[in-house]
Every structure is written in structure tokens, then in C-alpha cells.
């Protein structure tokens, strides 16, 4: 049961990570925030957060399974969540708005 929770967290972190990576792309930023400028600093922050979230999911995979299987679970779950993020952006882009943290003073 504990492993089920950990594997659910793998998907959660992957989804977060891929969402942040998507928001760091100008086309998707515009989907969420119109013509508001996406500054380089924000891009760097989103990509760092995305990378960290994906690293967390990899660590969780390694916790649950032996390295060879963990690697496959990680890469396949990243693939599946990337598709989920793409479809979220297509049909419910505003669901991801809160991840962009526009109220945070990141643009100085």
C-alpha cells in the first residue's frame, strides 16, 4: 500500500515538473497569461522547479523498485504525464495557472 502512495507521488511530481517545463515555453505562457511578458528569470525558475520535481519523482521510483525497473517506470511515467499536461493545456489550460505563481515577485 505504501508503494501505491509513493507511485502516486511519482505521477504527482512528474505532472508538476512537466507543467512547469510547459509554462516556461512562451507559447504555453501566452495560453495562460495572454501577452504578459515572460522574463528570462521566470523561465529559469520554472525550468529549475521542473527539473527538481522530475528528480524527486526519479528518487521515489528508485525507492520503490530496483534501479533497472525504476528507470523504466520513471521514463514511462514522464511520457504519460507529458501527454496529460499537453491535453490539460489543450482543454483546461487555466488549471495550470496557479503553478505559474504570477503573484510572487519573481520578475525583479
Amino acid at each position: 500500500m505504501f508503494n501505491v502512495v509513493l507511485l502516486s507521488l511519482v505521477f504527482f511530481f512528474n505532472y508538476l515538473g512537466m507543467s512547469w517545463l510547459a509554462i516556461s515555453l512562451k507559447s504555453h505562457w501566452r495560453q495562460l497569461h495572454g501577452e504578459t511578458e515572460l522574463r528570462q528569470r521566470r523561465i529559469a525558475i520554472y525550468r529549475t522547479l521542473g527539473g527538481l520535481a522530475l528528480t524527486c519523482s526519479l528518487i521515489l521510483c528508485l525507492w520503490v523498485d530496483n534501479p533497472s525497473i525504476a528507470f523504466l517506470v520513471w521514463i514511462m511515467s514522464v511520457t504519460a504525464t507529458a501527454k496529460a499536461v499537453a491535453f490539460t493545456l489543450s482543454y483546461h489550460a487555466n488549471w495550470l495557472k496557479f503553478l505559474s505563481g504570477t503573484r510572487l515577485p519573481l520578475d525583479y
Binding site: L25, S68, L72, M76, K83
Partner: protein
């Protein structure tokens, strides 16, 4: 010929993709189904609907079951043509083997029989196979087709074309072309990273289909790449049989030297000797695994030269918790029961080979990963199908090639909805044909092929609207067929076995419950697509064939 690399790669991607896309669709689809081949077997063989079993006692069950294996008649007939004299009535047994995984209630056994008098191959042999119920050794009748592991799975890697292994070569060439298509696709994709997450469902059909093609191709690129590559590696020995042709002599010497170094006999001594207790050897092997900190069960058991004084037993740990199919072998003298040799960990190259093979064949125990593979496989099918639709959409206003496009459209219908119809037809046939029917398995395969041919004929017949710039009616009509047959298959499973969905769900018998749920999902999806296509077709007729808006494939889910 082309002014840029991108242009030349576009040509390569388009035309190789079109020519081999139909084959790749078949390979991908049946590969995807093979992820759950054992579960499909359970659905198709109600008498095997019991829990997965461990390898049974050798002395209690296996020894007698192995004795029942006879050489395969087709292989024997072919071997007769290779030999100089008549084959003896009783062929010498070279080895017996039993292989199982954590998903197998039944046990697959094989034997290799030596073929004497072949001047060109002193090691010539034929095989024999049976599947047994490991609880009592009862043989599963040969007329029961294991639709998942014995039909869909070989269709994936050999297309069931066995003459000179031509099917393997066609599949191998297709895998190679797929690698080319992946690389050329990456080169021609103008905005690989910028449009990594892009799917625009509200755009025109041509645009959104291309988005979906790119999304399913790029996001699942590692999956597609490694599966095509590992598929090629698994059958490299067939594509490049150097150890049986130009390097036959050094390969033989190497095998002899390797056996000698391990202390394993390379050939029978032709001196009869009684076998020791294989069950004791299995217990010893399990003890060794426990001491290594890897407790486990037997996945693969081989008895070499049974009944000979040179006999030895090889025992491999089941690879449930690893990507590799099985662990390293432990070999015992079959007569004395002494431990001869324990295989060390594989070399780097050997380890990579085991990893890639295991990655592709997925015998590990990880249901989440199995479902993720299913999603990856379906993404590949969507990628190929959207490639066809994009090809047609881009060219459908080209009046000069309308006839050729009609053919492409009909072939696309045949390999997408037609293939689905054939697949569900074999399941319906499986439930309708009586179990006692002689050659029931052959009849099931005939009905599968017949349904597919009918679907293809229907696709060509109904593709006339394609010539007028519309959508072939075959898409819609075959979707109705898929919906009806899928629902019928679930109903027939209930009627003929009593295992209705509520019962299997309540009992937690997921192989059958899961497959019934998948069939119902397919029925629902096909119904929805058919309804959308019908409403679009109605719009097309009411606005006239010149209408721009109704000229397109519908947006799925738009109704």
C-alpha cells in the same frame, strides 16, 4: 534532388512512413495487445481461469509431462526433407524445458529432439511443445488457441509468415524503417521543443492531426526508439546468422570451449544413467538464491540429455523483480545431483543485451509499468494512424491522385478499424465455436483472416466518397461493427462461461474483468466515433459536397 536536408528527410519520412506504416500499425497494435497476452489467454481459455502457479514438482508432475511431448509434425515433415535416410520412430531427446512467469496459471513445456543423418548440420533438431495444468499435469488440448500468447504475440514479431523466416525479416525491416522515420521525423520537426506539449484541437483537421502525430511521436520517442531497437536486437541472430553460416566453425569451437570451462557436457555420452532428484536440486538452487540475498522462485528449468550419464539440469531464477527475463543459471549434474557451475553476473555487453531483451518482453511483475507500456503502444498506434490521416488530408484536393488516395484511404481503414474488427472477431469466434470442435484453433484463425479481408473489401467498396473529397463511409460503418462486436464478445463471455463482469469484479479476477472492461471501453469509444461521423456526414450531405466545413474528419468528442 532536394535543396535542403529537411526537404529530403521530409520525403523519406512521408514515403517510408506511408509504405511501411500499414505494417508498422499491425506490428505496433499486436505488440500492444501482447502486453496483456496472458490475460487474453485467460479470457479465451475458460478452463485455465485459475491463479498463477509455481513450477510444480519435477518428480511428481514434470517428469511424466515431459515424456508426453512429441515432435511437432510440421517440423518433423520439414526435417524429413533435410535428411539422407528415414528418421527413426523414436528420436533422441536433447533437452526438456519449462518456462513460467508470475502471470501463468498454465505451464509451457518444450523438448528438443535430435535429427540424425543431416549431412549439412550435425546438430539438427526439431521441437515439441505442450501446455499443462501444473496442478495435476493435465495437458491442455492442442485445439485450444491461446489467442494472446500464441496468436497475437507471434503476429507482432513474425506476422505468422514462417517460410524461411520471411515474417521475421519483414518485421525487422519495418523496425529499421521505424528508426529511420523517428530520426527523420525529429529532423523535419521545426519546433521540437517549442511545440513539445502542443495539441490544438480547435484548429483545422490537418493541423490538429499533425499536432497529435507530433505529440504522440515526440513525447513517447524514447519508448518508440528503444522498442524498435530492442526488437531488432532480440532477433539479431535471425537477421545476421553468422554463427550458423560464415562463422559456424569458430562459433562451435567457442561453444565447446565455454562448456568445457564451465564443466558442462557438450554432448551426450550415449551411456544410459538414472536421473537424480531434480526437486532436491531446485531446493538447493533456492537456498543459493536466499544466501545471495535474492530469494525467489524458478522461472526456467532445463534438463539436458535426460537419461544419459552426461545429463545436467540448469535452473534459472524467475526475473519477477528485475528487467532481465531470468537470473543467472545454476547447473547441476543430473545423475549425482552435484552442483557443477553457477553463472556469474553478465558482462557489460551481456547485461545491456539482457536489459534490452527484458525491457521489450516485460516478464517482470509490475502492473503499473505494464499499463504504461500499453499507453506507449497505443501512442505509437495513434502516431501512425494520424500520419495516414495527415497524408490524406494534405492531398485530398489533388484531383489527379484521387484514385491513389482512395487506395491509401481504404488501406488505412483496413489497418485501423479493419484490424480492430478482425481482432474482436476472433474473440467472438472463440466464444461461439464449440470447444470440442476439431481444429477449433484453425477455425478461429480462419475467421480472423476472413473478417479482416471482408473489412478490407468493405473499405475499398465504400471509399467512393473519398474521391468526392469527403470521408469514406467505411470508417463510420466499421466503427458500428467494432462497437457491436465488442459488446457481443463481453456478452458471449458471460453466456458461455458464467463469468460476467460483476462476478469477476467481485471475485477480483482481473485477467478476465480487465479484458471485459477494455472491450466495453472499445465499444463505447467506437460508438462515440461512429455517432460523430454520422452527424458530420449528415452535415456534409445537407450542405452539399462542395462544403468546406463538412469536408473534414470530425473532431472526436465534438458531438
Amino acid at each position: 534532388m532536394f535543396s535542403s536536408l529537411r526537404q529530403s528527410m521530409t520525403w523519406v519520412h512521408t514515403w517510408l512512413g506511408l509504405v511501411f506504416g500499414f505494417l508498422l500499425m499491425v506490428i505496433f497494435f499486436f505488440g500492444t495487445l501482447s502486453v496483456f497476452d496472458r490475460e487474453i489467454d485467460r479470457w479465451a481459455l475458460p478452463e485455465t481461469r485459475f491463479e498463477p502457479q509455481l513450477i510444480p514438482s519435477y518428480e511428481g508432475i514434470l517428469a511424466k509431462a515431459f515424456q508426453r511431448i512429441e515432435p511437432d509434425p510440421e517440423e518433423l515433415a520439414a526435417a524429413n526433407k533435410r535428411t539422407t535416410g528415414e528418421l527413426p520412430d523414436k528420436l533422441r531427446i536433447l533437452n526438456w524445458g519449462a518456462y513460467t512467469t508470475h502471470r501463468d496459471p498454465t505451464l509451457y513445456l518444450y523438448a528438443e529432439f535430435a535429427i540424425p543423418n543431416n549431412p549439412s548440420d550435425p546438430f539438427d533438431h526439431v521441437h515439441g511443445y505442450i501446455t499443462i495444468d501444473p496442478r495435476d499435469g493435465r495437458v491442455i488440448p492442442k485445439n485450444r488457441l491461446e489467442i494472446g500468447s500464441d496468436f497475437f504475440y507471434p503476429l507482432h514479431y513474425s506476422l505468422h509468415l514462417h517460410w524461411n523466416s520471411v515474417g521475421y525479416f519483414i518485421v525487422g525491416l519495418s523496425a529499421l524503417i521505424m528508426l529511420v522515420a523517428l530520426v527523420s521525423g525529429v529532423i523535419i520537426h521545426r519546433k521540437l521543443f517549442r511545440e513539445f506539449f502542443t495539441f490544438r484541437p480547435k484548429k483545422k483537421l490537418q493541423r490538429k492531426v499533425l499536432d497529435l502525430h507530433d505529440l504522440t511521436g515526440v513525447v513517447a520517442l524514447p519508448f518508440h526508439f528503444f522498442f524498435a531497437l530492442s526488437g531488432l536486437i532480440i532477433f539479431a541472430y535471425i537477421y545476421l546468422p553468422v554463427s550458423e553460416t560464415v562463422l559456424q566453425e569458430p562459433a562451435l569451437k567457442h561453444a565447446q570451449a565455454e562448456a568445457e570451462a564451465k564443466g558442462l557436457p557438450f554432448a551426450p555420452a550415449d551411456i544410459p544413467a538414472p536421473m537424480g532428484s531434480v526437486d532436491t536440486m531446485i531446493s538447493q538452487a533456492k537456498q543459493i538464491w536466499r544466501e545471495r540475498g535474492q530469494p525467489g522462485e524458478v522461472g526456467y528449468l532445463v534438463v539436458n540429455y535426460p537419461g544419459d550419464s552426461n545429463a545436467y539440469v540448469s535452473i534459472y531464477r524467475a526475473g519477477n523483480d528485475t528487467v532481465s527475463l531470468v537470473g543467472q543459471g545454476i547447473h547441476f549434474n543430473a545423475v549425482s545431483g552435484e552442483l557443477i557451475y553457477q553463472e556469474p553476473a553478465p558482462s557489460v555487453v551481456g547485461g545491456i543485451n539482457e536489459f534490452l531483451t527484458g525491457l521489450h518482453l516485460q516478464h517482470f511483475e509490475h502492473w503499473l509499468l505494464r499499463w504504461l507500456y500499453m499507453i506507449g503502444g497505443l501512442a505509437g498506434c495513434v502516431c501512425i494512424a494520424t500520419g495516414f490521416i495527415f497524408f490524406l488530408e494534405k492531398r485530398k484536393r489533388d484531383l489527379e491522385s484521387r484514385l491513389a488516395l482512395r487506395c491509401v484511404d481504404a488501406l488505412a481503414v483496413s489497418t485501423i478499424t479493419g484490424m480492430l474488427l478482425a481482432t474482436i472477431s476472433i474473440l467472438v469466434a472463440n466464444r461461439l465455436l464449440p470447444p470440442e470442435l476439431v481444429d477449433k484453433d484453425v477455425w478461429e484463425i480462419r475467421l480472423f483472416c476472413g473478417a479482416w479481408l471482408l473489412a478490407m473489401g468493405h473499405a475499398f467498396w465504400r471509399s467512393a466518397s473519398m474521391v468526392k473529397g469527403g470521408v469514406s463511409s467505411a470508417w463510420q460503418e466499421q466503427c458500428w461493427g467494432i462497437a457491436a462486436l465488442s459488446a457481443l464478445a463481453v456478452l458471449l463471455n458471460w453466456v458461455t462461461t458464467g463469468d460476467h463482469l460483476l462476478k469477476t469484479l467481485r471475485d477480483g479476477y482481473w485477467p478476465v474483468a480487465g479484458f471485459d472492461l477494455v472491450l466495453l471501453t472499445v465499444a463505447f469509444a467506437a460508438l462515440k466515433v461512429a455517432i460523430v461521423l454520422r452527424s458530420r456526414k449528415a452535415g456534409f450531405h445537407s450542405q452539399g459536397s462542395s462544403s468546406e466545413a463538412s469536408d473534414e474528419f470530425p473532431e472526436i468528442g465534438a458531438s
